[in-house]
Amino acid sequence: MTVTEATPQAPPERPAERGNARKEGWIRRAPLLPALIFTIIVTQLPFLVTIWYSLQSWNLVRPGSQRFVGLENYATVFTDSQFRGVALNSIILTLGAVFIAMILGLAIALLLNRAFVGRGIVRTLIITPFLITPVAGALLWKTVMFDPTYGLVNFVLGPFGADQTDWISTFPRAAVIVALVWQWTPFMMLLILAGLGSQPAEVLEAARMDGANGFAVFREVTLPHLRRFIELGVVLGAIYLVNTFDTIYMMTQGGPGTASANLPFYIYQRAFLGFDIGESAAMGVVTVVATIIVATLALRLIFRSFSAAEEA
């Protein structure tokens, strides 16, 4: 958003007209500016400051320790094997949860994409995990679901020999993924259901008239149509899930050690438990750069979806 927004192609105007055009431009812009300025101040300034902090050696525990060190923090971050492990965890947790949730969401959406008794109720039941406060959901999985002795999971899996397994300390990452999948499958399902609903009925009808059976129609017509929605779900899911903090905080505290910590949790630990401002800022910058790569892809997809939706 620039103030000096000129229209180079416009024919030369008389000063009075130009004045009017400029006034008109500002009248149009006025309703937008409060929101825009607010968003820039609250969301963009902190990132700029983060970049500045990442170039400092600064630990809150040692007052007066702040000094400029250039890229030293970045060198530390990249040679920190724990950071690399945590970055890998981030990828595993995000991709694992996104793909499992997408496959389940797709299957459930197909199951729900037909008229049956109580369809609305079943849909409402399924979206509930997505609505429930994530902190509460994580707490639920940590205790009443995954408790080794009294948890429901071991009760259900008992006949299969899973008696007394302490899922959270034995398989911390998998346990977190289970909670995330439970939470995010409904989102994927809703997205795919929207996709299924937007299928032009005539095309389906035509395919069936041509004698294609149900599976062929699905493969040749429905799946290509859903592609855009699947891509969008994967990308949006990844954007939201890469920021997962509450589930890890509540279920495992990143542990044991850093076995289930992702980048947000690790940065939080370094900043608020280790008070290392410089290093955690550098990690933040690295995370942002990685996210921008994914986000660019996401934005392109969203804009494409948007154009498609508006052309329809």
């Binding site: 309703p31 994409n113 009443v144 009294y150 937007s198 939201y240 509540m250």
Partner: protein, 292 residues
């Protein structure tokens, strides 16, 4: 996609699309049963939470789990006596005020990006959405330092400002898509009749977009209510919200499942109800309006 040409033609084909029905009777019944099993399966942890909330601690700790028990309200009494009240009030205040601010800032912005678009509409939209893609964790350190410097730690208004910024991009995108559904001819007719912009906004646009605005508000409320990262890092005792209250249950000792479930039920109930109401617009909100 240009905002100027895309209006008026949004007759979404899915709005009234009938649900396809093509399975045979026998397999149809089977699929219905399967759908119900999946639905109940996904809901079961929530159901179990609510059931456990009505148990005594002794009933909550049984192997195998108890399904039939004498329900008690003791846990809820204990949760409220134990002081969940201030947390609920903080959450309610932060949620309502930030949502009002979002609507106050977002509605004019959405208008300036749809019905009377500014020149750089695409760039502005791109900017708004890009702010949602940056990980908040990378901003928390300077936010903490600045908030601390201003003496605004553990202050509910700090959360309100942050929640407003967090939800504003989503609201702008959503509301823009609702504004675009307003038929241009209606607006033109109103201005032909000599109605001022303010009046045509009030009398023509508002009735059409108000269901969408309500859904937008509900979605902002869900996000604010559930927010944890800022709340846990920037508040302590005075301004802490409901998710922060639940942190106390991580380290509980002894028997606490039933009281935990009562607390979690109290914490989650408002948003679950809001979400049930807004469920038809949920996808639209989370996909920034890309999917209707």
């Amino acid at each position: 996609m240009t905002a100027a040409t895309a209006s008026g033609t949004t007759t979404s084909p899915n709005a009234a699309a009938p649900v396809p029905r093509r399975t045979g009777r026998g397999s149809g019944a089977l699929l219905t049963v399967l759908a119900w099993i999946v639905g109940i399966g996904f809901f079961f942890p929530v159901l179990w939470m609510v059931l456990t909330a009505f148990k005594t601690e002794a009933d909550a700790y049984t192997d195998p789990p108890t399904l039939f028990f004498a329900p008690t309200l003791d846990n809820f009494v204990e949760v409220f006596a134990g002081g969940v009240g201030p947390y609920l009030l903080n959450s309610l205040f932060a949620t309502v005020v930030s949502t009002l601010l979002v609507l106050l800032l977002g509605t004019p912005a959405a208008f300036a990006l749809s019905l009377r678009p500014v020149k750089k509409t695409q760039d502005v939209l791109f900017f708004f959405i890009s702010t949602k893609m940056l990980p908040v964790v990378a901003a928390i350190v300077p936010i903490y330092v600045v908030v601390n410097y201003m003496g605004a730690l553990d202050n509910i208004w700090t959360l309100i400002v942050l929640y407003t910024a967090m939800n504003l991009p989503i609201a702008v995108w959503m509301m823009r898509s609702f504004f675009l559904e307003v038929p241009r001819e209606l607006l033109e007719a109103a201005s032909m009749d000599g109605a001022s912009l303010g009046r045509s906004l009030r009398e023509v646009v508002l009735p059409i977009v108000s269901p969408g605005m309500a859904a937008t508000a509900l979605i902002c409320m869900i996000f604010s209510w559930n927010e944890f990262f800022f709340a846990v890092n920037l508040t302590a005792s005075r301004a802490a919200t409901v998710p922060v209250y639940l942190v106390g249950f991580i380290t509980s000792e002894g028997l606490y499942f039933a009281s935990l479930c009562a607390a979690a039920t109290v914490a989650a109930l408002p948003v679950v109800i809001a979400g049930w109401i807004a469920q038809n617009k949920l996808v639209q909100g989370l996909s920034f309006g890309a999917v209707k």
